[in-house]
Amino acid sequence: MIEINALEKRFDHFSLGPISMTIEEGRHVVLLGTSGSGKSLLLEMLAGFVRQDQGSVLVNGRSIDGLAAHQRPLAFVFQKPALFPHLSVYDNIAFPLQLRKHSKPVIRQKVEELAERFKLENLLNAKPARLSGGEAQRVSLARALTTEPKLMLLDEPLSSLDVPLRNELRHYLSELNNQGMTMLHVTHDFEEAIRFADRAAVLLDGKLIQNDTPEMLIKQPRHTYVAQLTGNRNFFKAILGGSKADEIRKARVENIDFNLYSGSDAGEGIVVIDAESIILHKEAAASSAQNCFKGTIASITPLGRGAEIEINTGITLVAHITKASLTAMNLEPGQNVFVSFKASAIRFLEL
């Protein structure tokens, strides 16, 4: 368990903290925030690259404040791969083991195990300059695991990769977490957070403004920034049915089926429905939309442009409509309405 107690760092024009949070063993905690919010700085303080001005960090009840970076039992994976350019992939992975004076057979066995796990067997003799971005990040992950860390600090390791490689690395991270690795993962991508995280901590201008489950961030944002971050508030855990061959597939949320396109494997995931794509009708109307539900208006909140309408259809859907539509339709809380949206307005995110 990692306990962060009132950690603070002050600069001339920026200060971080005091930050307090606990990361339970085996959890995947996501640290969200815009660039400049201090999330990477927090990670660097935990890794011992930057000294805090105040506060303390405990790993399994023992303070690591007095430990230099090379003594801390935490692995750091950087945004861009930080491989040693003069060493082969083998020597990069072996580096921490050589430092710890393991015997050559032990090092070889461990490197080969990790190479197999991260599909690097054919790259062991290559120099980092020859690797693709995805391969390089896989080497970074393999190398970080050789030290058997208590916590992995991930500083947006997916952001420098393109989409297919991102999915591949995401799979490795999920697998690691499922095997019990504790992770603190910095990202500015909310979708990334809801896919991964047991908890998400949101930083704004160096302050921790909410530390909650992703569902609670969506349902009960405690700050307008959190509401903006979640933006599109129609996120639901869902089970995708059918197969990749089907044109239209069903995703079940509680006892409601959504029709959507998806190339994902059937199974658990999250559906995201863009609030701007949801259309309200007073009467049931025939249309080309694949999804149509009857519901009751739960609330109407004026926004800067237009209004946000919460409709209870068994689950709560959020729709954004213009002020003109609100006036023309004369909508009020408690009214029955029909909501519709196209199959293409729904995205399914694999977990």
């Binding site: 690259f49 491989l83 350019p85 921490p96 300059a129």
Partner: protein, 265 residues
Amino acid sequence: MKPYSNRNTFHLIFVFAGSLFLLFVFAPMAGLMFSTPASKLFQTIQDVQVSNSIGLTLGMSAIATVFSSIFVVPFAWYMVRLGGRFKHIISGLIDLPMMIPHAAAGIALLGIVNRESALGRIATEVGIDFVDRPLGIAVAMAFVSVPYLYNAAYQSFSAIPRRIELAAANLGATPVTVFRKISLPIAKRGLLNGFVMMFARGISEFGAVIIIAYHPFTTPVLIFDRFNAFGLKEAQAVSALFVIISLAVFVLIRYLSKPLQDDRN
């Protein structure tokens, strides 16, 4: 077709300017080489005073370079990591010996290593003498040429992304291990350039060396001495020989330091 003709004129100006520049650099060198027949070169190489001076010059410059690198390379690495405005002031001060007239640099150095100075007295007590000694020559060479090594080392270490060294620390490397196993090998090309630059600057040094040690003769001092005593022809022969040997040494260093295969780093 005006733009084309303009471009052509532009091109011609560059070719003309470039040719003048190349002529300026190579004409004196070529003149030096052609002015000395092979027989004269052969005769000069057999002159013990000349061969001793060349050996002394190359040897002292090599010693100055190797000895300085022990201090300068780790210091440059440390300076790259040092924050604050002091590092720019210190870097400026390190460049000073390069900026001032080298005779003035020699005088400044003689001021602290002469036998009457505090340092000179302590050195004399332990049997070390700088004035008119090979050691003094090495010190004078090091004084004026060490900024080249420092600057090359500083630039090479600056080019290493911070995250690479942090990653090494995170994986368990102490600062000394990070320096030895990560930074030093990554920066080796730049460092080697620094060594070559410092060595080259050292062997060509005249102003500071002649103030500290007129004798024993380094080759630049010997060339000056021959010119004064025997005139241009004698000085040209020693100069040509020294240029050929220096070139051979540089080519050899470059060849030995060439990597066996391109590791694209």
